[in-house]
């Protein structure tokens, strides 16, 4: 169904007709049935939605500016069923992926992170997969086009890759772990977890840049180490979602989020809100210097470079003595000498606490 066809339908029905994509939640919110099929209708006060196609980006519906009579409804359902090009029918794979997404969401909600994969998927996902979570929000781009970039990016592996829609603008990408061999970083004789992580980070970075290079927008990617989906799929989805959420909260400048890089963030992120407020209240004075974004950025870089003064100064393009002067100023303001291990740990934790409690 293209826009031209929608316009023709508009002429026939004499009311406004638009082709829009809605989420399954929005569909359900308007009284639409579960697991809807093309031709199904959800009615509301000012009109109705007629389902045209269900795919991994959501439900493509005709938004019709009136409620349909029984005859109109039957005629439209018949017209949809007469299409021979399959454009109106979700493919078997897409429908399966949608059901898998619903299954994962249900497991996450019930905290059943190690539930065995349902039968229809267990056979399909029998080998290891590299799980990635893609979150992309951009008003100007169609989600389908974004996923096409993702599929092209996985090139020869795209046929074996499953893209599972989760929440709106969120997809779980399951690429076969053969990908690691494609990267030539998988050495059975001598496994190097750091090497694999590095390559996975490049993969996520590449995917992120491939998408934004085409469409712009706010694109975030999280990637985890390979898992066996039969029993670890829900757990992997939970890990990636948490990684991405924590990453966005603590490191808004990052677009690629890696679970092995956010240990302290995880710890602080799980502290109960009242405890956080109490600690923040007690440490208020020491946290004040973080209100200056330049100080916060300097410390972030300093910590990420293992408190190496020369390297931090080099990356900031300032003289080593200038950095020492700024660290000394921070010491005077906060009472913390971050060149010493204990104070560096304190400052790092305080910086994360500051981001949780003050920077909203």
């Amino acid at each position: 169904m293209d826009k031209e066809k929608a316009r023709q339908l508009e002429d026939i029905l004499g009311v406004r007709v638009r082709l829009v994509t809605v989420s399954p939640q929005a569909w359900a919110g308007r009284g639409g049935g579960e697991s809807p099929k093309p031709g199904d209708v959800a009615e509301f006060d000012q009109g109705c939605w007629l389902l045209v196609k269900r795919n991994e980006t959501g439900l493509k519906v005709l938004e019709i500016g009136k409620r349909l009579s029984s005859v109109e409804s039957r005629l439209l359902r018949w017209a949809l069923s007469q299409r021979t090009d399959g454009a109106f029918l979700s493919t078997e794979n897409e429908a399966l992926a949608i059901r898998l997404g619903e299954w994962i969401e249900a497991r996450l909600e019930k905290d059943e992170l190690h539930a065995p994969l349902p039968g229809e998927w267990a056979a399909r996902l029998s080998g290891g997969v590299v799980p990635m979570l893609l979150n992309y929000e951009h008003a100007g781009a169609d989600a389908g086009q974004i996923l096409n970039v993702a599929r092209s990016f996985l090139s020869d592996l795209s046929d074996e890759t499953v893209i599972v829609p989760l929440r709106p603008a969120e997809w779980l990408i399951l690429a076969p772990d053969r990908l690691l061999m494609e990267m030539e970083s998988f050495d059975r004789e001598e496994e190097d977890p750091d090497g694999v992580r590095e390559e996975l980070a490049s993969l996520a970075e590449g995917l992120q840049q491939a998408i934004t290079g085409e469409w712009g927008g706010d694109c975030h990617v999280a990637v985890a180490e390979p898992v066996q989906p039969r029993e670890e799929l829900a757990a992997a989805a939970a890990l990636l979602r948490e990684t991405l959420e924590l990453g966005r909260r603590f490191h808004p400048e990052r677009r690629v989020h890696l679970p092995w890089r956010i240990h302290l963030e995880w710890l602080i992120g799980h502290l109960p809100e009242p405890a956080l407020r109490r600690i923040a209240g007690r440490m208020h004075g020491a946290m004040e210097p973080f209100a200056d974004p330049e100080t916060a950025a300097m410390l972030e870089l300093f910590f990420s470079l293992d408190c190496n003064v020369s390297e931090t100064a080099r990356r900031m393009y300032i003289h080593r003595n200038t950095l020492l002067y700024r660290l000394e100023k921070f010491k005077l303001e906060s009472g913390l000498d971050v060149r010493g291990f204990n104070d560096a740990v304190r400052a790092r934790i305080l910086l994360l606490l500051y981001k949780m409690t003050k920077r909203k």
Binding site: G140, S152, L179, E182, M183, S185, S202, G213, E214
Partner: protein, 374 residues
Amino acid sequence: MAGVRLENVTKKFPGSEKPAVDNFTLEIKDKEFLVLVGPSGCGKSTTLRMIAGLEEITEGKLYIGDRLVNDVAPKDRDIAMVFQSYALYPHMNVYQNMAFGLKLRKFRKDEIDRRVREAARMLEIEHLLDRKPKALSGGQRQRVALGRAIVREPQVFLMDEPLSNLDAKLRTQMRANISKLMKRLETTCIYVTHDQIEAMTMGDRIVVMKDGVIQQAADPDTLYHHPVNLFVAGFIGSPAMNFIPGMFVEEGGKLRFKAEGINVVMPEGKAQIIRNKGYVGREIILGVRPEDIHEEPVFLEASPETVIYAGVEVAENLGHEMFLYLAGLGKENVIARVDGRAGIQEGQNVKLAIDMNKVHVFDKETELNIFEND
């Protein structure tokens, strides 16, 4: 090919009151190699990302050629970008990495092949086409990243610190390669760097930025010899320009600059401007490039009225030249760049002379160069 025009472009990030880029207006000519330079956080990368379409423009207009592109997706802007972290796709070989963008745009296979091989030949990486990124050196990876951009045959190249991940030797080599390549391709290029040497050696024109605002846009020569303010003067040049706070006073019909350890005469041409602008008797900052402080006997003899005496705290001999860190002239060390064969030792007291025809004078309040601003 096309030029790029930014009209009053401003970028504000959510939650930040201060704009990251503020009222940026600039016209970049077709085939020009423009360099955006400035310290960390000055807004140069944000400007580039707005041109690329990776950041939305808060206010203002952006044109590529004659087309307003504020709301055009990156893929439809006909630009190609090379990032600092040139994320080569690790699961694809070099050929596939370079072909990816064209494949996405559904180019014919033979056309993709032609472009990839031509770019590979240009970059001298033909022998690497079957290799995966992991098997490449830093310099080779960087050339593949460039190749990925070249095959697109864009109207504008955008490069964001593309050499910063390379070691110093490779950086120098790649610097020359990129300049040569851009001349050959005859395409507009906007290049971001924090490195003033890169800026000076590569750019047809350089834009110096600070706090999201253009400080000066000019060719390298103008920027070096006619900086409009203290920031540009201090940013361009290595070692940096010496800044000596002091005052002009009239003595015996001559205008003298006086500061701690310095009492020299201004040449009449410059003196007249200083008088006309009312800077006599006011605190100012004198800017002196290290190479404008001389030790050669011929110069000392010819300029007896600009002679200074100083103790050498540190002497760094680089062979062809020597940096002298001089004490007793103003509050901070003054650096002089002299001939490497001058034979000056640390701890020695030396007689030098300043070429006052080449000095700059900055207003202490506005920090503007009084010779370059009306």
